[in-house]
């Protein structure tokens, strides 16, 4: 690993959202390829964050700071990745389901998936089943992720899966669900393909879905 990658690794782990974009810019100025900066700098850093979280050495507030640092770096890289036609490891459409306004967890999943090298289309919160269907048609993601915090809005996940089925798109996507009120049993019952109990677990699941593990 070069010094730039080591510095990026540290900046991500420390959740430093000022140094991270500066290092990314420095890398670009020195002629490093955007995709390499993403894969060997940002993604490697976020992978370590995920591992430490799983081991109980990092907690959610720190994970969030690291994800935001990564986002600050990705902001510079994104247009360059698009224009160079770089292939990300997959595309994910995310949203909090209809009736639910909670999005902290979903935002964290989004940030960490980007940190893992995915392209993420975030539909926001209170997303109707129809909007998920439209987004699948428009963006053709490999994965659709749904989040719900409330026990009273979980059912919207089942409605959304139904809408995706009725649109003939169910076999085009892998569906993963998460949120405080959701569990593996519920996810099985509504016909989702997987459940993540926290953001790093969601990322792992997404990686497995695209065969990137």
């Amino acid at each position: 690993m070069s010094t730039l990658y080591e510095e990026l690794f540290t900046a991500i782990l420390e959740g430093n959202n000022e140094i991270t974009p500066r290092l990314v810019q420095k890398g670009l100025d020195e002629g490093w390829v955007p995709k390499d900066i993403l894969d060997h700098g940002l993604v490697v850093g976020m992978n370590e964050v995920g591992a430490r979280f799983k081991a109980g050495d990092m907690y959610v507030p720190e994970v969030l700071m690291s994800a935001e640092a990564m986002q600050a770096g990705l902001k510079i890289l994104r247009p360059l990745l698009v224009s160079s036609g770089a292939q990300l490891i997959g595309k994910i459409v995310l949203g909090t389901v209809k009736g639910d306004l909670h999005d902290i967890g979903k935002n964290l999943v989004g940030m960490m998936c980007e940190g893992a090298g995915f392209e993420v289309i975030d539909l926001g919160f209170n997303v109707e089943p129809e909007r998920f269907v439209e987004a699948i048609k428009q963006h053709q993601p490999q994965i659709v992720g749904m989040s719900a915090l409330l026990t009273t809005t979980m059912r919207a996940m089942a409605h959304t899966i139904k809408a995706i089925e009725e649109a003939g798109l169910r076999d085009k996507v892998k569906i993963m669900v998460g949120g405080a009120s959701v569990d593996a049993e519920f996810s099985r019952r509504i016909g989702a393909d997987g459940y993540g109990s926290n953001a790093p677990a969601g990322v792992d699941l997404a990686k497995r879905f695209v065969g990137a593990v």
Partner: protein, 484 residues
């Protein structure tokens, strides 16, 4: 007869000083006046504007004089009545009175036969109500789950319809919207005889939940307006999570949650001056590992107690929380977390402590946890009853009479007092080892399960009027038709 002699009734518990409470009070007023809330309901914003609030788009700021006026209008004391007139099941809310009951919305339930965890269904509702009706230390009813086997829009209606005939204790209803609210109210009014009769002796209380941080959602306000117009006592209670949707510190989450409640209070008092209004909610911490809300955390009890003191300082009764656990089993963890929070609620004097019987971080309702907590509440109530000091209890003359080397078993004094002085366990076992061994070495869990099954086999709640049963059928039929 004594002069200049102060008596403590019960145990006294005080966490915050008057000065600290005034600071917290000011923090709430400041938040309401300077930050304000997002009010997502047009009519509610109009009501607030007419009452004197400052409306700027969706953001509403409430000047402190208006908050104070609304607080002054809301009663500190009121009564919720048993639907059958049984005075023992009336619930009088007032200073120093701590009541307990289950909670709503758990997606899962511990099956009463198999003891397995599975989705909560409509046939579970009557079971919960019967157990509530029978348990001596449970004072009000909630379904302990959200029915999963009916159309989602009808859940609350089926829950109320299942509880109302099976307990005469007051019910806390959690409708989803105006439509199931109307159905629920129709049932309660039918049993009362008329709207006027209901207003004089309300038999249910109505729950609304705004969103943290600082959002009064359309649904919560639409429901609030419905209840206020019909003079149904109202709970307006958010569920903020410290470190997530509320400040990480107890003082901070208390201030935010109180601001969220008093926005609702202002609207309610503008519509119906003097409407009984209960503030509170489920305030706890975010477990920074799992991002879940920790229902068994000590901070829950701490924050709820602080909020209780603020509520009482401001002159409002409190919707408290206790008797919950993050454990998935009826085990030691469930007993520690549940009992300590029940005891703390009893100590803090939170008027209505709900969610007793929540397990698995509120994902699974358990009548076994509820029954075990009934024991813990009885135990706590014995302690918080305190020590009575008078001529008779001092027993100086009895001590003199018995003298050295005597005993008290035969004394009239002992006979007169032991049944009221000593708490008798229903579930805790005090037999000696050999007897316990001979009787099958039962555990707390064994005895709790047996008690619940015994209640379900033998307890008969008082029935509702046949006319009310007909109204229930009609209301459910109409509701099913509407969703078709």
């Amino acid at each position: 007869m004594r002069t200049n002699y102060r008596v403590n009734s019960g145990v006294h518990f005080h966490m915050l000083s008057e000065d600290q409470l005034e600071e917290l009070f000011w923090g709430v007023l400041q938040t309401l006046e300077q930050t304000g809330l997002e009010v997502q309901h047009d009519q509610a914003r109009d009501i607030l504007k007419k009452a004197g609030a400052w409306v700027d788009g969706l953001r509403v700021r409430v000047p402190s004089y208006l908050v104070r006026r609304s607080l002054a209008l809301a009663p500190r004391s009121f009564t919720l009545f048993a639907r059958d007139g049984n005075p023992k099941h009336n619930l009088h809310i007032g200073p120093g009175r701590a009541h307990f009951g289950p909670g709503p919305t758990c997606p899962n339930f511990i099956d009463v036969e198999s003891l397995e965890r599975r989705p909560y269904v409509k046939n579970d509702v009557p079971l919960v109500a019967e157990v509530v009706d029978a348990l001596p230390n449970i004072d009000f009813c909630e379904p302990l789950g959200a029915v999963s086997d009916v159309h989602p829009a009808l859940g609350a209606l089926y829950e109320f319809s299942g509880m109302f005939p099976n307990t005469s204790k007051p019910i806390a209803a959690w409708p989803h919207n105006k439509f199931d609210s109307a159905g629920i109210h129709q049932i309660a009014v039918a049993e009362a005889g008329s709207q006027a009769a209901f207003e004089q002796r309300p038999t249910y209380i109505y729950g609304c939940e705004p969103l943290s941080p600082l959002v009064s959602t359309f649904e919560a306000l639409d429901k609030l307006i419905f209840a206020a117009e019909r003079r149904v006592p109202l709970i307006f209670a958010p569920c903020p999570t410290a470190g997530g949707t509320a400040p990480v510190t107890p003082a901070g989450i208390i201030i935010q949650g109180a601001a969220e409640a008093w926005l609702g209070l202002t609207i309610a008092q503008a519509i119906q001056p003097g409407l009984p209004f209960i503030m509170g909610g489920v305030f706890t911490v975010m477990d920074m590992d799992s991002m879940s809300r920790a229902y068994g955390a000590p901070e829950l009890s701490l924050i709820m107690a602080g909020l209780t003191e603020l509520a009482h300082y401001a002159g409002l009764p409190m919707w408290q929380t206790g008797g919950c656990t993050d454990s998935k089993m009826l085990d030691g963890q469930a007993m520690i977390e549940g009992s300590l929070s029940c005891f703390f609620s009893a100590l803090a004097g939170g008027d209505l402590t709900h969610a007793v019987g929540y397990t698995d971080s509120a994902m699974t309702g358990s009548v076994f946890q509820l029954a075990a907590m009934d024991e813990a509440i009885g135990y706590s109530r014995r302690i918080t009853r305190g020590i009575e000091v008078n001529e008779d209890t001092l027993a100086v003359d009895v001590i003199h009479h018995v003298g050295p080397n005597g005993h008290y078993l035969r004394e009239k004094h002992t006979r007169r007092h032991y049944k009221t002085e000593f708490w008798r366990p229903n579930l805790c076992d005090r037999r000696n080892f050999e007897e316990w061994d001979a009787m099958g070495r039962t555990t707390m869990k064994d005895r709790t399960v047996a008690r619940v099954q015994d209640i379900l086999a033998s307890h008969q709640p008082s029935p509702i009027k046949p006319e009310t049963q007909a109204v229930i059928h009609q209301v459910l039929a109409e509701a099913e038709e509407r969703v078709r």
